[in-house]
């Protein structure tokens, strides 16, 4: 029993971490909470559904298509909504409001086209499942874990072993200094959106593959991912991963001890508890950022 929970936690952590890391990458560059991340997730899930269940291509093509769609949508939002707004002088609150507008508009567009019912990527009989040590493992779940690990490895390599990665990290730590050093921050911004959205897209398409999806699925994934990112410190990618494991574990335990409905409340509980207990360290409080 507990091994199954462990495996489920692993699967949930992988999914959550993709959303959380993607969100954090974008937050470090954009410096506000990009709520439309949920819309990117949802669109990717439906693109995957279209390519696989409707058109009938194999799952790997569907995954690539979904990630590409997500990356494009993320970049489009940055280029055509956030950037013009910033030029017009919008503050973080204005950008947040626009992000919400995008989220609602895209979500309802998806709902219009596909309806509100849940969709599955693959018919159940095409998924192979096998048992290892009493743990039921489906091929799609295994694929999720493998792809997630692959994605992290690539992201890590990108950030630490390439010039682009250095640019991204520079912008994340000190935007003004980066501009002074001649870093192309606009390119870095789009890149962050492309990368972060692609990760969210992978999460979305794998979610519809392993479970099912409906237009509201993005909200839940976003809440879980953002909680993980916040609990992990808000700016660190490794923290986002650690936070994901923690939040997913809490969710699985709640699911097992009580029932599946408690998953979302537990996540909020974790978020709430963290925000209450969070130490008011000078780095994270508002005093330091403003008064110095």
């Amino acid at each position: 029993m507990s091994l199954q929970i462990l495996f489920n936690t692993l699967v949930a952590s992988a999914h959550c971490a993709l959303v959380a890391v993607g969100f954090t990458l974008i937050y470090r560059s954009a410096k506000f909470f990009h709520f439309a991340h949920a819309a990117v997730y949802t669109v990717a899930a439906y693109v995957g559904y279209v390519f696989s269940a409707l058109i009938g291509l194999n799952i790997y093509i569907a995954i690539i298509a979904a990630m590409a769609a997500a990356a494009c949508l993320g970049a489009a939002i940055d280029l055509w909504i956030y950037r013009p707004l910033r030029s017009a002088g919008a503050s973080a609150v204005g950008l947040l409001a626009a992000s919400l507008g995008v989220l609602i508009a895209v979500n309802n567009a998806v709902s219009l086209v596909f309806g509100d019912d849940t969709k599955k990527l693959l018919p159940p009989d095409s998924i192979t499942a096998f048992e290892v040590l009493g743990v039921r493992i489906s091929s799609t779940r295994l694929l999720l874990i493998i792809l997630t690990l692959l994605a992290w490895a690539l992201v890590y390599l990108l950030l630490h072993a390439t010039r682009i990665g250095i640019v991204l990290r520079a912008v994340a730590s000190d935007n003004d200094l980066a501009i002074t050093c001649g870093v192309d921050t606009k390119m870095a911004s789009v890149l962050s959106f492309v990368l972060g959205s692609a990760l969210a897209g992978l999460a979305g398409v794998m979610w519809v593959a392993t479970t099912a999806v409906h237009p509201g699925a993005g909200f839940s994934a976003l809440l879980t991912g953002v909680t993980a990112a916040v609990v992990g410190g808000g700016r660190s990618l490794r923290g986002a991963v650690a936070g994901s494991v923690f939040v997913s574990a809490a969710q699985q335990v709640a699911s097992w001890k009580f029932s599946a409905e408690w998953q979302d409340p537990v996540v909020f509980g974790v978020l709430l508890a963290y925000l209450i207990v969070k130490p008011r360290s000078a780095e994270l409080g508002i005093w330091k950022a403003r008064a110095i």
Binding site: V93, V102, I104, N108, G285
Partner: protein, 290 residues
């Protein structure tokens, strides 16, 4: 005529909600995503009290307000010590959790099937049955909410809220305990939302979770931003305008199954457009998000 009254009553309810949210979005400057959840708390509280205990309107209003204020306190506990960013996330979480509570706590709320058979409101000995009488009640409730909110926003308390919106560090340096101000504003806003919820429950006589979703919260934000945040008439104008738009769509002849999505798609798009091109909204003077 019945149709017009219905639209007007709905507009009043939404206007009450927009007025309550304006305190937070317009005056304190925080995008709270939980207003629909608080609206729902008020609605379910009134509904259940009226059905199971036959309480009168004033009693159900009172308890609905208290319930909404208590739930908003959860958010205040966590988020007000920290940056606005975290507060928005916290409100997002609160909205989703309360909504899932409405859907999943079937023993209390009847889940997705909703609560029906809510009686018309009873004020002492008089039961408000007709649509016309209910409209009068709705106008009175709106007027009371509107007046209370404007008294607060034009008072020194409101001045501190605006200061928090512009420069919280400055307000702090002058000795204002900004956390207390934010908590109180949020509690007051929640109370007004809870009151609107009670009114709505008695009017619609049937409520289900679909009226209290995240989409609704964003719709309320849109009403405030489009109407003109931090102004006396802006939220009311925004509410009436968007309800009118919704009814206008009906006349275009969209099938009922898609009208809700089209409407919300338009709200989302309109929100972006207003933030980008006319941050003062329809009748406001404060430039939102600049």
């Amino acid at each position: 005529m019945e149709y017009i009254l219905r639209v007007l009553v709905l507009s009043c309810v939404y206007a009450m909600l927009a007025v309550s949210l304006d305190l937070i979005v317009g005056y304190v400057g925080i995008l709270s995503l939980a207003q629909a959840a608080l609206f729902g708390i008020g609605a379910y509280t009134s509904a259940l009290l009226a059905i199971h205990w036959q309480l009168g309107f004033l009693s159900t209003q009172f308890v609905s307000i208290v319930a909404a204020v208590l739930v908003s306190g959860l958010l205040s506990l966590a988020a007000f010590r920290l940056k606005e960013d975290y507060l928005v996330i916290g409100s997002f979480g609160l909205q989703l959790i309360v909504y899932s509570g409405f859907r999943n706590f079937v023993w209390l709320t009847n889940g997705p099937d909703g609560v029906g058979g809510i009686p018309r409101p009873r004020l002492l000995f008089w039961t408000i049955e007709s649509d016309g009488a209910f409209f009068a009640l709705a106008v009175v409730c709106l007027a009371v909410s509107w007046q209370l909110k404007n008294m607060i926003s034009s008072s020194p308390f409101g001045r501190v809220l605006r200061a928090i919106r512009e420069d919280e560090t400055f307000a702090t340096s002058l000795g204002k305990n900004t956390m207390v101000f934010k908590c109180l504003a949020f509690a007051f806003s929640a109370g007004l939302a809870g009151s609107a919820g009670g009114l709505y429950a008695h009017y619609a006589r049937f409520i289900d979770p679909s009226s209290f979703t995240l989409d609704e919260s964003v719709l309320l934000i849109s009403m405030v931003v489009i109407g003109g945040p931090a102004s006396v008439w802006g939220p009311v104008a925004g509410a009436f305008a968007l309800v009118a738009m919704q009814e206008g769509l009906r006349f275009i002849g969209l099938p009922a199954s898609t009208s809700a999505q089209v409407r919300q798609l338009l709200y989302g798009a309109l929100l972006i457009v207003i933030v980008a091109t006319r941050p003062k909204g329809l009748v406001g003077t404060y430039r939102f998000g600049r």
